[in-house]
Amino acid sequence: MKEWNLLLKKEWKKVSVIILAALLLTLSIIGQGYLFVTIVDRVFIEGGGLSAVLVPLTLLLGVLWLRTGVSTAIARTGVRLASGAKRMMRERLLHKISGASVGESGQVEAGRRVSVFMDAVEETDSYFSGYVPQVIQSLIVPFFLFITIAMIHLNSAFIILATSPFIPLFYIIIGMKTKEKSEEKVEEMNALSGKFLDILQGLTTLKLFRKAKVQKETIETSSLRFRDATMEVLKTAFVSSLMLELISMLSIGLIALEIALQLIIFENMNFFTAFFILILAPEFYNYLKQLGFAFHTGRTSMGAASKVFEEINKPEDEMQWGEKELRLSRPPHITLRNVTYRYGEDGFHTGPVSVDLPPGKNLAIAGRTGSGKSTLLHLISGLMPVKEGTIEVEEEDLHEYREDEWMNHVSYISQDPYIFSGTLEENIIIGAGRRPAAGEVETALEKAGLYELTQRLERGMDTLLGEGGRGLSGGEKQRLALARAFLKDPYIVLLDEPTTGLDLETERILSESLTELSQQATMITVAHRLHTIRESDEILFLEDGRVAGQGTHEELFGTVDEYRRMTTASRGVEVQ
């Protein structure tokens, strides 16, 4: 929770405002009590009229308004503190993610990050807007009230001193109890509350098995069981506030009794002092009690916060880039020297891979699923950091170049290119990295076989894609990726070939496009098609992350058994 305090330290101005406001609040509470008592004393005991209390009455209005002002100031500063802290956390998350490399488990990871960024951060809100201001108030207000009471009447202060420790003690004990209870129940509660969504999601399946109607009862019983489990946890929380209430009441009762004795039996106390104490004491206990309630919300926020900071502090591969420029007038010379990547400490290993790619050569990476082909492609593209060894581009370590200098020359055609929400045109231009000249987009569309589609679409190139727009079929997506590449006109083409067959038209376009692109670029392909492999200058055959064979098709076919097996017993032929 170090970061937690750091956050507060950074926001010291707002925290100071709350502290100052809490001090003023104490002042106004004491002032308010004093003036009320003065007025009652003058009117009731001394029998004075309105004129006798004009001054305290006027002052009272001022003090009451001051109290309103500072209370509101505390609440508003709390809100500001919370949004400041949330901003900071989100900034740091963004910074963290933007610097990170591209992992393999993209989808799951992205989903989890959305939930941390949106929900976990939001859950920390009540810590800053509720808990922190409450703690500050509950430390300052009771302290000064205690001193004031001690100055007026020492006996009451002794009673407070004796009774008030029970309040924090109690909520520590009960807090622990609730925690145990809720931890015990949390799994059951999650399961029950998830049941409704589970049923809605599976409703189609349920209908096909004609079990949909009976689910109404399942929803009802699980909701009611959820209620009962929640109530059990809440009950302990409610009992705790009941106990706190009773303790503070008993304490106030004791104070009142002592005062009454002093006032009536011993007659050594005046009305003014008695009433003043009796007005201040409940305020004292009130602020202590509220700390207990705030505690509850504070703790759930803490859980969310630790999730956020776990994410921020997670060790992650960061890409390092240099400052060098990369000027090219032909495809670069790329050399891999013992390039290795490892997931975690002793996780899956890819490499070492060494390969020399003179300008314009084609490299195919082959192997079974999970053999590390995509990892290798990511390493060469500069999307993942090399752990050992080097990738040299034009006799210089890749990571000595500026990121954009390198990326400007690279096209990455993935199996599942991301479609951004925007128009079809915007989705293609994104590949160019610059404003294309007139007619360029059309040419790219034509080459990628998308021109006809845009003609068929009512809004043509202005058709909205992505979120809330038109969906694309697998073949159309592939063509879109090709169009992006044509527009960019890159010196390096990285291709993750589709594992399954596309429609024949797209297949034809794909192979023609690649031939054209490869005329002036170095092609590095994760290959799933025999002819792609056959036509490449060099093949890297991977098995479990290591290089099991390297060379041309003929060389590998003769020497590597597994390679021969894979290229002959391809999917279309029965495996027996």
Partner: protein, 569 residues
């Protein structure tokens, strides 16, 4: 408003808990006022040195009030929360009742993921309805009115003051707060939606953005919408704090006015001075719970919107099941005649002018690339939606006239995405056969090559702990337990390795030898024994025939087959 009335009706079902919440809420409120009023009176009385017994009586009363207040609050909380969760259960079941008849075609209209996430959010937000909007104002009103009546015995002027205070904190300020809120155009809810969409896009498109060097640009856009959302959220929270602040100001000023009027009335001899302290205390306490009233209209507005979104959702599709029951319990026959179907947002039809016949007992394969329209055929044959043009017939009867239930009864379907429920393997298999015992389940699990799973094996949400291949085999086990004789399977083994697939297929063909089988696949392997292979491309049926016929024709299917033979790894 109609939708909120639905919620109100559901709330009203918990009469007992509502009564208890209100009664104990009022009890707690009144005893709070009583407690502090009495102690104010007590201290004044003590100053006059009265006989001890009167003091003892008053002290005892104060104690009694104190205990009653604490207990009252406790009981109120118990009942109000219990009621809230029970009401939540009613809302869920009611919503389910409304949604159920609309499934599955409603999921064809809206993307189910977004739809359901919204539904869950809206249901959860209705939690606040009872707890913040429904009963607290009632409690406040009763406590105030009681206080006013009590005060009227002493001074009608003070009573009038309390009434005025009530109007200000309960009506005037909340009303002004609502007006202020309406002014802010950009809603927090919207902002949150935009931010999370942008974020998801940034994260899911991360690799492509990096390559295109657009990552920083999009990140800046993301920052901007984040800033906008945080600002809107902050503004909303500040407004709420402001509303409570205004209420506090009004309350304290009212108390001040009470002091002023009391002093004046005492001076005029209309009120005994002994009650001054009492009224100060009463006034402080009675206004104490009024702060949150400032934001009741805001919560009401939120709940109204949530209810509207929720309960206006079902009933939009207008699809009704027919009522003709299928008589047959043998293999069904289907036919599609010039069927055209489009998705709502799509411009090109998903299926265009398709004519295919599926005689009873025949084996048909539907092949084509992803997005060619194969799955749409399954959806239509399962009566999940109706075609725009053309006819679909089952057993010679128009599909629209046949009851959906009776089609589903006769068909074993595996959808592209099978849903598995949280629980155990047993729970998931019982769906298909509620009488299946463990032995039968174990048998079928072994049959689908899942011998390592037992009926007790836990299944996480959406089958998250099962691999793609395991899920597909479990889906097969599930339909094996259902005694239907027509099979419509959409890529049932796309994630199963080749060897296991051919074993499973062999076993399947033995089981379904006499049955109607419609197999959707983009894998062209093992189609030799099919009676009919239908090739779909961009929503159109471009080739039909047996394996030999299509291979001889050297057309599209032949070329697809050629291509497949060159796919490796």
């Amino acid at each position: 408003m109609k939708e909120l009335r639905t919620v109100l009706a559901l709330v009203a079902r918990e009469k007992k808990d509502i009564w208890f919440s209100i009664v104990f809420g009022v009890l707690a409120g009144l005893t709070t006022v009583g407690l502090f009023g009495a102690s104010g009176y007590l201290i004044s009385k003590a100053a006059l040195a009265p006989p001890l017994y009167t003091l003892i009586i008053v002290i005892a009363m104060v104690k009694l009030f104190g205990f009653t207040r604490a207990l009252g609050r406790y009981v109120e909380r118990l009942f109000s929360h219990r009621a809230t969760f029970t009401i939540l259960s009613h809302i869920r079941t009611r919503f389910f009742e409304l949604l159920e008849p609309e499934v599955p075609h409603i999921f064809r209209k809206y993307r189910s993921g977004d739809l359901l996430a919204r539904v869950i959010g809206d249901v959860e937000s209705l939690q606040n309805f009872f707890l913040r909007v429904y009963y607290p104002p009632i409690v406040l009103l009763i406590v105030f009115l009681s206080t006013i009546i009590f005060t009227a015995f002493f001074s009608w002027m003070l009573a009038l003051l309390f009434f005025l205070g009530l109007v200000i904190v309960g009506v005037v300020i909340p009303f002004i707060a609502t007006l202020k809120q309406r002014k802010s155009q950009y809603s927090v809810r919207e902002g949150r939606g935009i931010l999370s969409t942008k974020l998801a896009e940034w994260l899911y498109g991360f690799r492509d953005l990096k390559i295109y060097q657009k990552q920083e640009e999009t990140e800046a856009e993301l920052r901007e919408s984040m800033e906008k959302y945080e600002a809107a959220h902050e503004r909303q929270q500040l407004q709420m704090a402001g509303g409570e602040g205004w209420n506090l100001l009004a309350s304290l000023t009212a108390t001040w006015a009470v002091v002023l009027v009391s002093v004046w009335q005492i001076g005029a001899g209309e009120l005994d001075g002994i009650f001054l302290a009492m009224f100060i205390m009463i006034s402080l306490m009675v206004f104490e719970d009024a702060g949150p009233m400032a934001n009741v209209p805001r919560h009401l507005e939120d709940n109204r919107n949530a209810a509207e979104r929720l309960f206006s959702l079902p009933g939009r599709t207008g699809r009704h099941s027919g009522d003709v029951s299928l008589e047959s319990s043998g293999p069904l026959s289907f036919s599609m005649e010039n069927v055209t179907y489009s998705f709502p947002e799509s411009l090109t039809p998903a299926l265009q002018d398709a004519t295919i016949s599926f005689p009873a007992g025949s084996k048909t394969a539907i092949v084509g690339a992803s997005g060619s329209g194969k799955s749409t055929i399954q959806q239509l044959l399962l009566s999940m939606d109706v075609p725009e043009a053309g006819f679909i017939k089952v057993q010679g009867e128009d599909m629209q006239r046949v009851s959906q239930e009776s089609v589903w009864k006769e068909v074993n379907a595996i959808l592209q995405e099978s849903h598995f429920f949280y629980g155990t393997v047993r729970d998931n298999l019982l769906l298909a056969d509620k009488d299946a015992d463990d032995r039968k389940m174990q048998e079928v699990l072994e049959r689908v090559k899942l011998p390592h799973l037992s009926p007790e094996h836990p299944v996480e949400e959406k089958g998250g702990n099962l691999s793609g291949g395991e899920k597909q085999r479990l889906a097969l086990a599930r339909v094996y337990l259902k005694p239907a004789r027509t099979w419509i399977l959409d890529e049932p083994f796309s994630s199963v390795d080749a060897l296991t697939e051919s074993e499973l297929m062999q076993d399947f063909w033995e089981t379904a030898a006499q049955d109607t089988v419609i197999l959707i696949s983009h894998n062209l392997k093992g189609l030799e024994q099919m009676d009919n292979i239908v090739v779909v491309e961009q929503g159109q049926v471009i080739e039909k025939g047996s394996y030999e016929e299509l291979m001889e024709r050297k057309g599209y299917f032949y070329r697809m087959k050629q291509l497949e033979n060159t796919l490796i790894g």
